[in-house]
């Protein structure tokens, strides 16, 4: 593979967006649950819900901070790595981004401050209002960015046009080349382009699943450890309903997304399914397999005959073939391997999570939900499936968009039929690229990824930033996991117990470690108790549930600190 600027920029964007996307679905979904828990607290007047929410809001805040920090990177990268793309789409894309800043981010960050720091400073009702505002803010932020992305997939309400030179008022040429860009014609057509609704609902469903599984996972872990039982059971039940609705919505919106893609971006759907040859009869659905670009078949596959035609066209018995990759010019075909695998694993994970939640309901109905240890273990790891499904969904959507960064719409005839040329190749909508002589060249009304990057940026610069991001994000990820783990180990404060410890400082998770450090320090003062000098070394107080791996790390840390103190 050629390590050129375009490839490196794509790699960097993929890396940074996938890292960033670990966090927003979590905060959006968890934000929804926090609103529900706060509502329960106010309606049932049960302080158990309040202390539960104190715990969730702490986890929310840490996740949110990482989400914001990694989100700024994304905004910068449009300009730093994809300057030509920014020039091309700025007139359309920019207003969505600005609206996101004004409507969403201020709302989120302002009221999050109230949520995290203001429990004792504002009234109950205002606090409740703030939980709503944070949730709505995070939902808004997803709206605008998904609108912008959907416009990139299925542009509407805009035209690719030559700019007018403002100093002369005439069509603008530089060095004989026309200054072309997408110019907005109708704001609402941009906002409600054909894929917006399908995609935003699917994203929200994914968020609900992620936030839901986050709560389920932590509660299940406590239940397995027989800790914080009341807290865990009550939060688990609400989250189970929430998650189930999320997974169900994922399935419904996923289906309508696939049909939308079949209509708007048939090459992309063909890539999802490794559907090379259109053929004459109904199209089969591959359950799994490995698409082979050379033989144009899917190896090791199990397929359901006619199923894809049935899903796309809703006909029974299926007879219409789904459009295959053979109907596209070779330059316009996306890679097949990554979209195929990402799509299939995402769908499989979706069904697995649906099954898991249904089994959960079954045992809940039987009254033995929390006794099923195997089921609780599955819920603990469920969060990984939820996150993976979200990431893979975006990989599917974005790699499937290739080789376009702004996907040109299909050319349709007046009666809505897709236009093909004499060789049966599907035609994209064309835009006129004027020439100085007064003629025009017709090109598809989109932008190819390879034309979107920053021309002033060289390979070594991108290599530098990839390495930088690689290092920072690795560090960030481990610190995030570590802090989260500490907070989870510490757990929610028991109901009714004064949350404020004597000296008025927050009792952080770190205090656990601090306490055991104090005992170690006491030992250090009394040489007879030092491990090694005493025949039976007395271990510092250690919570019974401490995982051994963690204990090992903290032991090393403590030794290091003792050395440092000397």
């Amino acid at each position: 593979m050629d390590l050129d600027v375009v490839f490196l920029s794509r790699l960097q964007f993929a890396l940074t967006i996938m890292f960033h996307y670990l966090f927003p679905p979590l905060t959006i979904g968890l934000g929804g649950l926090i609103v529900i828990y706060e509502t329960l607290y106010l309606t049932k007047k049960d302080t158990a819900w309040k202390s539960a929410n104190v715990f969730w809001i702490k986890l929310f805040a840490v996740t949110f901070a990482v989400g914001v920090a990694t989100g700024i990177v994304m905004e910068f990268e449009f300009g730093t790595n994809w300057a030509n793309y920014s020039r091309f789409v700025g007139d359309v894309f920019g207003s969505a981004l600005a609206a996101e800043g004004i409507f969403a981010f201020f709302l989120e960050s302002g009221f999050l401050a109230v949520l995290v720091f203001g429990r004792d400073r504002v009234g109950k009702k205002f606090y409740y209002f703030s939980t709503w505002m944070v949730f709505i803010g995070s939902v808004f932020s997803s709206v605008w960015i998904v609108i912008a992305n959907s416009w990139q997939q299925t542009p509407r309400g805009s035209l690719v046009q030559q700019m007018t030179n403002p100093s002369t008022g005439e069509p603008w040429f530089i060095d004989g080349a026309p200054q072309m860009r997408a110019q907005m014609q109708n704001f609402w057509e941009v906002v409600f382009n054909p894929s917006t609704i399908d995609r935003i609902t699917h994203v929200w469903a994914g968020c609900a699943v992620t936030g839901g599984f986050f709560v389920l996972s932590i509660c299940a872990w406590y239940i397995l450890r027989k800790k914080h039982m009341d807290f865990s059971k009550r939060c688990f039940k609400v989250a189970l309903v929430f998650t189930f609705l999320g997974v169900l919505a994922s399935a419904v919106t996923g289906d309508s997304n696939a049909r939308m893609v079949a209509e708007q971006q048939p090459a992309k759907l063909a890539a999802f399914e490794g559907h090379y040859e259109t053929g004459d009869g109904p199209t089969a659905l591959h359950l799994f397999g490995i698409p082979n670009d050379k033989t144009k078949t899917v190896d090791y596959s199990i397929e359901i005959p006619g199923m894809l035609s049935f899903l796309v066209y809703r006909e029974f018995p299926p007879k219409t073939p789904v459009i295959g990759l053979d109907q596209f010019h070779p330059d316009d075909i996306p890679p097949t391997q990554i979209p195929f695998q990402a799509f299939h694993i995402m769908v499989a994970l979706g069904f697995a999570m649906l099954g898991l939640t249904i089994i959960g309901f079954f045992f809940w109905w039987r009254g033995s939900l929390f006794k099923q240890r195997w089921l609780m273990y599955l819920f603990v790891i469920g969060i990984l499936g939820a996150i993976a499904a979200n990431e893979l969904g975006w990989v599917t959507a974005e790699v499937g968009r290739q080789p376009w960064i702004v996907y040109p719409p299909m050319q349709k005839t007046t009666d809505g039929e897709i236009l093909r040329n004499a060789d049966g190749i599907i035609q994209f909508q064309q835009a006129e690229w004027p020439t100085l002589e007064g003629g025009a060249v017709l090109k598809p009304a989109g932008l190819r990824t390879r034309d979107g990057h920053s021309q002033a940026v060289v390979q070594s610069q991108v290599l530098f930033s990839i390495i930088m991001f690689g290092l920072i994000y690795t560090l960030l990820f481990f610190v995030w996991i570590y802090v989260l783990n500490e907070k989870i180990r510490k757990g929610p404060a028991p109901v009714g117990e004064a949350v404020t410890p004597p000296e008025g400082f927050i009792r952080t998770a770190g205090e656990h470690a601090h306490d055991s450090m104090t005992s170690l320090r006491e030992q250090a003062q009394d040489p007879s108790k030092l491990p090694g000098t005493s025949p039976i070394p007395k271990k510092p107080d250690k919570p019974s549930d401490t995982p051994d791996a963690y204990h090992g790390i903290s032991k090393i840390l403590r030794m290091f600190i003792e050395k440092f103190k000397k």
């Binding site: 730093t80 700025g90 800043g101 960050s109």
Partner: protein, 341 residues
């Protein structure tokens, strides 16, 4: 005179930049001064003085970026690709800053806290310095070709003038942050903030004079607009008065006036910077007349600017309203409680 949307958006972007500089200015300043106090409680007090606010302040930068992208996409693209390495370092600083604030309090080990303290201070200083450098480079101008693409190398971005502006930015924000800390703290810590303030004020005064003189020598274009619009001198005079009022108010023990004066000083700086550029957004050092990006040739279509104006008219009052609510909620001296960092 017809209503000039391009000029309106030039002003609005200036407003967003001013908002960012004033608001994130004081919390970056608190970061720059962070290591000047030693013990943990005082460091926590300083950190918590900006605790609930810094995140919202940073949103001004995000919105500034978004608005620049939307209103002047050519400028956005050119600036961001030109400043590739500085902006990557800026991101690095901003990430580390956010993370330091968030993670510092999660452990009590002194080595853990010390590490994040150093990160926080270093990242705040680096970010401020880079903002200053970006402003300085914009003043000096960069070589652009007729496609508005950067033709220079990293040394065009490390012009001594730009570095001076970078240092000035650090001085301004440190001073601004010291006044903020004086407002938010009590007792010994407040006295400490006061000492810091005077140090930073003299530092700022020196840099202010250096950069003013240097600008007149190195960027003669900067005062072109003053000949066309003589009323602009009023802003210069107000700026000098605001600067003079900062030590006066501090001396008289009126930190709020001092803080407002330093806010005005920062606003005046942004205004003068915009005036120096106008009508350009990015001035080309090669063929300035044709290769510069100005508020017309870099702009979005009138339709987009109109839609954005509607968005801003609806959105900005709401933003100001809840910014005010949040600042009101967290008014008064900072105290540590169970929710603090």
């Amino acid at each position: 005179m017809t209503f000039d949307l391009n000029l309106l958006w030039f002003l609005l972007i200036g407003v967003l930049m001013t908002g960012y500089a004033i608001l994130d200015g004081f919390d970056l300043g608190v970061g720059i001064l962070h290591l000047t106090v030693r013990d943990d409680t005082n460091r926590r007090l300083q950190l918590n003085s900006i605790g609930p606010l810094w995140d919202g302040n940073e949103v001004w930068l995000v919105t500034f970026g978004g608005a620049l992208f939307a209103a002047f996409p050519e400028t956005y693209a050119t600036i961001f690709e030109t400043f590739y390495i500085p902006f990557m370092l800026l991101l690095f600083a901003l990430i580390f800053r956010a993370v330091s604030i968030e993670f510092r309090s999660k452990q009590k080990y002194s080595i853990w806290r010390g590490f994040w303290d150093v990160c926080f201070c270093f990242a705040s200083t680096l970010a401020t310095f880079l903002f200053g450098v970006a402003v300085g480079v914009s003043m000096i101008g960069i070589p652009l070709n007729e496609r508005f693409l950067f033709m220079g190398n990293i040394f065009h971005l490390l012009h001594p003038y730009a570095l001076c502006v970078g240092v000035l930015a650090v001085a301004v924000f440190a001073m601004h942050g010291a006044i903020y800390l004086y407002l938010k703290t009590e007792g010994e810590l407040q006295k400490h903030a006061r000492r810091n303030f005077w140090r930073m004020f003299y530092f700022f005064l020196v840099m202010y004079l250096v950069v003013t003189v240097y600008t007149l020598i190195a960027v003669p274009r900067a005062i072109d607009n003053f000949t066309n619009y003589p009323w602009l001198w009023i802003v210069v005079i107000l700026n000098v008065l605001a600067v003079a009022n900062i030590p006066r108010a501090m001396y008289l023990g009126r930190p709020l006036y001092a803080f407002i004066s330093s806010c005005c000083t920062i606003a005046a700086f942004v205004f003068l910077f915009s005036t120096a550029l106008y009508p350009n957004l990015v001035t080309s050092s090669v063929n300035e007349a044709t290769n510069s990006l100005n508020i017309y040739n870099a702009a979005s279509t009138p339709l987009t600017l109109t839609i954005m104006t509607v968005i801003a008219v609806i959105g900005m009052p709401i933003v100001l309203l809840y910014t005010a609510i949040v600042y009101w909620t967290f008014r008064g001296k900072v105290v540590l409680d169970e929710h603090s960092y």
